[in-house]
């Protein structure tokens, strides 16, 4: 029996349980597969042309794990599912992105704990812990032209929306928009971390592939978690 902690919720409308997380991860995999060539092309411009193929390989492996374990049908806890996703990504993606996305899900798992479901605030807190883990592991900051340029604004927007009384769906819509804006804002930046940093000024004028894949992950969350938004043009 899973323990009930602050931020946890009974499975139901707007709560994030193993089934919802599974749907999210599958949506991430589909989106990465769809955009793999675009991610690799972005990486070719300022990196080493493997971001799309590496992430696609890892997400395909994750779908394989989900197909085998069927966490959506059993009583998998949130942390067990996220930890399994993290370990799969760490083991199959490689490069910096494998270690960093793995750390994102690993720290989310640790923050969530062994619960059956998270409520909106619990999910936001877990996501924040995950992003903090990426900061700690990669030692990057906002505007270094990395995945954090999408992830940090997404967390901020999610927290702000929930603080303003919005639902998880509202918050994730705002998070997806903030991630996309952060991604677009990486174009003029000069990279200060990762392989693109070796280009110096020549890295400016290119969209960061890490911020691009991070935006796909947040957009997939908006499409799958929290049910329909309560209001606004994205609703209904």
């Amino acid at each position: 029996m899973a323990t009930q902690t602050a931020g946890s919720a009974e499975p139901g409308e707007g709560s994030v349980d193993a089934a919802a997380l599974t749907e999210w991860l599958r949506a991430v995999a589909a989106s990465i597969a769809e955009h793999a060539t675009e991610l690799t092309d972005l990486d070719a411009a300022i990196g080493d042309a493997d971001h799309g193929s590496n992430l696609d390989r890892g997400m395909s492996a994750l779908v394989g794990v989900l197909d085998e374990s069927h966490p959506e049908t059993g009583d998998s806890t949130v942390d067990a599912l996220l930890k399994s996703a993290a370990m799969t990504l760490i083991s199959t993606v490689g490069g910096a992105s494998g270690a960093l996305y793995g750390t994102l899900f690993l720290r989310m798992a640790a923050a969530a704990g062994p619960v059956n479901a998270l409520d909106a605030k619990g999910f936001a807190a877990a996501l924040r812990a995950g992003v903090d883990g990426v900061v700690a592991r990669g030692k990057a900051e906002l505007q270094d032209k990395t995945m954090l340029d999408a992830l940090i604004p997404a967390c901020d927007a999610l927290d702000a929306a929930l603080a303003a009384g919005g639902s998880l769906a509202d918050g994730l819509q705002a998070a997806a928009a903030a991630a996309a804006a952060g991604r677009d804002a990486t174009v003029p930046l000069v990279a200060r971390k990762g392989r693109a940093s070796y280009l110096g000024e020549r890295s400016a004028g290119h969209q960061d592939p890490g911020a691009t894949s991070a935006t796909l992950i947040v957009e997939a969350a908006a499409a799958t978690l929290g049910g329909p938004p309560s209001a606004g043009p994205g609703g209904g």
Binding site: D48, A49, I90, G94, G194, G200
Partner: protein
């Protein structure tokens, strides 16, 4: 894309079958993609584990053997190995005296080796890591991921390997590797790009009359693009940033002219002649040299020059016997 492959997805796996078939003195763990000394683990000897993305052959698997590495982890092409592989290698070679990780300074390699070292320590294996960053092309380490680890990695692995073989402790081997890195500088250039098999297209485009100066070894573009020039000028362009960065005046050096994979040996020798001429004029004595393709970037045409300032201790360890697929001297038979 025109390559001798079966399937772009299986390039690393299939190449490791070849490594195993060609070098029966090595043991290849195909599941983990780790190449090991056939006699590992050596009880009481500090073990050296390196690794990185594939596509740099003979680095690192070509340097596994007595006198050099105990294990090499092969990542996907130009992608660092994952912690599972590094942990498996670390456990397989630990002979009770600890394990030194030799890591090229690329973000992915550093993060994955860090994760693996944390996991190994949980399992009770003492691990130290040395991060190699010999590449002088990176001007401002404060605002970048720092200087990269490139061809100087060979020198670090050779000298640290000799020290471990001679019975030095983990701290001694780690300190020595750090010291070698501190007196080693490399500068590289590309004449052409290269094609990652999974990508299928060249990583970047270079016009026929252009070279990319200050490249790393992952097909990433360098710092600047300049017109192609005669070999004498190219040698000067490669040596200037090295000699500006470290004072080699009046000292002796181990010099490597390293091919990036697509440049023939005749051009490497031609470049070496120019390098030797410039170093003689600068009063730098070349005590040992290597000319060949050791740390490559797939089929990229180009070269790098590495200088290691050598004292008597480093030189005697450089000369110590080594018996690997790509580097072999001082051994019988």
């Amino acid at each position: 894309m025109k390559k001798i492959i079966n399937d772009p997805k299986n390039v690393v796996r299939d190449a490791l079958y070849g490594v195993a078939a060609a070098h029966p003195q090595l043991r290849v763990d195909h599941a983990q993609r780790v190449v090991l000394r056939g006699d590992a683990p050596r009880q009481g000897k500090v073990a050296l584990v390196s690794g990185g993305g594939s596509g740099h052959e003979p680095l690192h698997a070509g340097f596994v053997g007595p006198g050099m590495l105990d294990a090499a982890c092969a990542g996907e092409v130009f992608t660092s190995p994952v912690p599972d592989q590094i942990l498996a290698a670390t456990k397989a070679v630990d002979g009770g005296a600890g394990v030194l990780h030799i890591v090229k300074n690329y973000t992915g390699d550093v993060l994955n080796f860090e994760l693996a070292a944390e996991l190994a320590e949980i399992e009770g294996i003492e691990v130290k890591a040395v991060v190699v960053d010999d590449d002088v092309a990176v001007h401002n380490s404060l605002y970048t991921a720092g200087r990269r680890g490139v061809a100087g990695t060979l020198v670090v692995e050779k000298i640290a390997g000799a020290s471990a073989e001679a019975g030095a402790s983990l701290s001694e081997v780690a300190d020595l590797a750090t010291r070698v890195n501190a007196v080693t500088r490399t500068m590289g250039m590309a004449l052409t790009s290269c094609t990652v098999p999974a990508a299928g297209r060249p990583t970047f485009e270079l016009a026929d009359n252009e070279i990319e100066l200050g490249i790393g070894i992952h097909g990433e573009p360098g710092r600047s693009r300049v017109p192609l020039a005669p070999a004498a000028d190219l040698a000067q362009m490669l040596l200037d940033p090295i000699l500006e960065d470290l004072d080699y005046g009046g000292s002796e050096a181990v010099v490597i002219v390293n091919g990036m994979g697509g440049t023939p040996q005749i051009e490497l020798y031609l470049l070496y002649a120019e390098v030797a001429r410039i170093l003689a004029a600068a009063d730098i004595g070349i005590v040992r040299s290597l000319v060949g393709s050791y740390v490559t970037s797939l089929e990229m045409a180009g070269a790098s020059v590495t200088l290691t300032k050598a004292d008597a201790e480093l030189l005697s360890l450089w000369d110590a016997p080594v018996d690997t697929a790509a580097l072999r001297w001082g051994v019988r038979g």
